[in-house]
């Protein structure tokens, strides 16, 4: 399978008028959603899932990809112009970007963010196009034991590595797995967790779950804590950059991309670490380190590039292995399932044209985003003046509409409300949402792989370790699980431990 020719075919599909229109819709929606507070690309894709049933899968995914990338562009506009940053991956951009804006350099900040995002997005997508087939080639040779191990690793990585509390991550994962269990067991046909309700026999529709957790839960949560005092958006003209700005930006762009893509591609990666790394690196390498903290353009260029490259990176395991590592990828995976498409290494084989059209459309989307974000940034900022009652009421309205239209059953709305309340509770008590949704999506697949593994080994548990890759992965898993305890032990035994250090929120008592 030649990458270049597949990609060219992909472009041919992506550039058909209809698909191009969907790409445009996707990037516009994505930018809008990225700018608007309280919304996000994951929620938007979730809300659109029911609508896309009637669409061609290719067109739908082209739109989703546009939303995914667009969310990042919009997010950086807000974090630069608003004096309070939003989602975690834009926080770093806001550090320098907002200072630049306050110093009257908003136009340059926006320009370096947009162009850097474009550069990183393009290079990242190119890397995706090259790496994904390689990963697929490697993954296709894997058997059920290794595949099972990889999925467990992915789940564990997201649960135990990201987020502040591993315990709560595991709790969230447990809940997600439990939700995924509802319905008929695929192998024996027996009903699990249906409590005699015939409507639950088919399980909880992933669309309803995704919409409930991402849209309804988020809307209810924000409604309960709506910020009452309005903020200021720093006014800005058309973004542009001077020659020295260009000179100072281009290397951070490239370095940011180099940081972002690998971290995005790793199961435990995500976008927070590379953006932070990029910031720290740029500060150290900068010829103007005193500007950092007051508005250094490198501090915007690098992290923004890292952000977008990480987004492209995340798509690598998503498309090649069927493993999502962030919320939006998880919801897109749910979309695959609802179309009846099995995600995983065989995706490139079975749905090659779709995948390559998707990748091609990412290139197109990036270009479109540059075009609509660079000159129109001030206009996007005006979106921030939208009255919020309409925004959040709209989310609930479309969430309800979408969930209902899946099966035309009011029962689904009851599920929506219950899971929405769960989403609310999780946000209140700091249970991360990503492990739950991964549990719902990956749980059934993991179970399937487990059963297949043991079926192949005729019930012998050693079959789990049957392949060398599986063994290696279990070692990594063991390390990840053991590491925090080992770390605490090392700290206890350190001679320079000062007894006056306050214990961390009272959780551990060192004086024992």
């Amino acid at each position: 399978m030649d990458v270049w020719s597949s990609l060219m075919d992909g472009f041919a599909t992506a550039l058909t008028p209809m698909n191009f229109v969907y790409a445009v819709i996707g990037v516009i929606l994505g930018t809008a959603v990225g700018v608007l507070p309280g919304l996000g690309p994951a929620m938007t894709v979730a809300l659109l899932l029911p609508v896309t049933y009637a669409l061609e899968p290719t067109s739908a995914f082209i739109m989703f990809a546009g939303i995914y990338y667009g969310g990042m562009y919009g997010g950086s506009t807000t974090s630069i112009l608003l004096n309070t940053p939003g989602e975690s991956s834009s926080v770093v951009t806001a550090i320098e970007g907002n200072k630049m804006a306050k110093a009257g350099r908003a136009a340059q900040a926006l320009a370096t963010a947009a162009i850097g995002s474009f550069v990183a997005g393009t290079i990242g997508t190119a890397l995706l196009a090259v790496c994904a087939p390689i990963v697929v080639k490697f993954a296709v040779s894997l058997g059920a034991p290794s595949y099972f191990a990889i999925m467990v690793l992915a789940l564990l990585a997201v649960t135990a590595v990201l987020g502040s509390s591993r315990l709560r991550g595991f709790a969230s994962l447990g809940l997600g797995l439990a939700i995924g269990l509802v319905g008929m067991d695929s192998v024996t046909g027996q009903r699990r967790l249906t409590f005699g309700q015939p409507l639950l026999a088919d399980g909880l529709d992933i669309v309803v779950v995704a919409v409930a957790i991402f849209a309804v839960g988020e809307a209810l949560w924000v409604a309960a804590h709506l910020r009452r005092t309005p903020l200021h958006a720093i006014p800005v003209g058309q973004p542009w950059m001077g020659k020295s700005d260009w000179k100072r930006s281009w290397k951070p762009w490239l370095r940011g991309t180099a940081f972002g893509f690998p971290f995005g591609a790793l199961p435990a990666g995500g976008a927070e670490i590379p953006t932070f790394l990029s910031y720290v690196t740029e500060k150290r390498l900068s010829k103007h380190p005193e500007e950092f903290g007051k508005g250094a353009i490198e501090g915007v260029a690098g992290p923004e590039a890292a952000n977008n490259a990480a987004a492209a990176g995340t798509l690598t395991p998503m498309l090649a292995l069927g493993l999502p590592t962030n919320a939006t990828a998880a919801v897109m995976l749910a979309a695959f399932t609802s179309y009846g498409i099995q995600p995983g290494p065989q995706l490139f084989e079975s749905q090659g044209p779709l995948v390559w059209a998707l990748i091609a459309s990412l290139f197109i989307g990036n270009l479109l985003l540059l075009i609509i974000n660079l000159p129109l940034a001030p206009l996007w900022a005006k979106l921030l003046q939208l009255p919020r009652p309409y925004l959040y009421a709209g989310i609930l309205f479309f969430a309800t509409l979408g969930a209902y239209s899946v099966n035309l059953q009011a029962f689904d709305l009851v599920i929506l409300l219950i899971l929405g309340a769960l989403g609310f509770m999780m946000r209140r008590f700091g249970l991360p949402v990503l492990p739950l949704i991964l549990g719902v999506i990956l749980g059934p697949r993991i179970e399937g792989q487990l059963r297949k593994t043991l079926q192949l080994s005729a019930g012998d548990p050693a079959g789990l370790l049957g392949e060398p890759i599986a063994l290696g992965i279990y070692v990594i898993i063991a390390l990840i699980l053991v590491w925090p305890f080992a770390y605490k032990l090392i700290r206890r035994n350190r001679p320079e431990r000062r007894p006056l250090i306050p214990a961390n929120s009272g959780a551990a008592d060192y004086s024992d």
Binding site: V222, P389, R451, G506
Partner: protein, 167 residues
């Protein structure tokens, strides 16, 4: 370390631990009731994973309870539009949930156009908008538009309910 407020807050998070424990027990009991003749082609059986999940939930419940009692706290999620300095604004959330429930009750017999209007109008009202007439008109318009849009564009026929025949 544990002032009264921390104690009370801690108690509310214990509810989460309770929920987890209850879920775990539920999953366990449900799986226990399954019939599983041993089969060569499926040595794992439909009970294994539910048992593992149930175990995981119960263990998490216990650990979480311990963590909370020792003063650990889950960090509430922040955001651009979120102001965590005040407790949850139930005056907003409960009417929202109410509008949602009304929609569930109305949608099948009164039809989407009516129930959707109630949902949207109720939601904007709950969220503090005071342009009553304008909001009502927008709600009706949205419901009508989506009603026709879904039918004509996606082939999904939302219930017409009471307005059957008119629409």
């Amino acid at each position: 370390m544990t002032s009264l407020t921390t104690g009370l807050k801690g108690r509310s998070e214990l509810g989460v631990a309770l929920l987890l424990g209850a879920a775990g027990v539920l999953v366990f009991l449900d799986a226990n009731g399954l019939v599983t003749p041993y089969s060569k082609s499926d040595p794992v059986g439909p009970k294994t994973v539910p048992f593992i999940v149930a175990g995981m939930l119960v263990v998490c419940a216990v650990l979480l309870a311990i963590n909370v009692l020792r003063g650990g706290k889950g960090e509430a999620e922040g955001g651009e539009d979120v102001d965590l300095t005040h407790p949850a604004d139930w005056k907003t959330v409960l009417p929202l949930a109410g509008a949602f429930i009304l929609n569930i009750l109305l949608i099948d017999w009164a039809g989407w156009v009516i129930s959707g209007t109630v949902l949207f109008w109720g939601s904007v009202l709950a969220l503090g908008s005071r342009h009553f007439v304008r909001d009502g008109l927008i709600s009706v318009a949205l419901s009508l538009l989506t009603f026709y849009g879904f039918y004509l564009g996606l082939g999904i026929a939302l219930p017409a309910g009471l307005l059957e025949g008119i629409l």
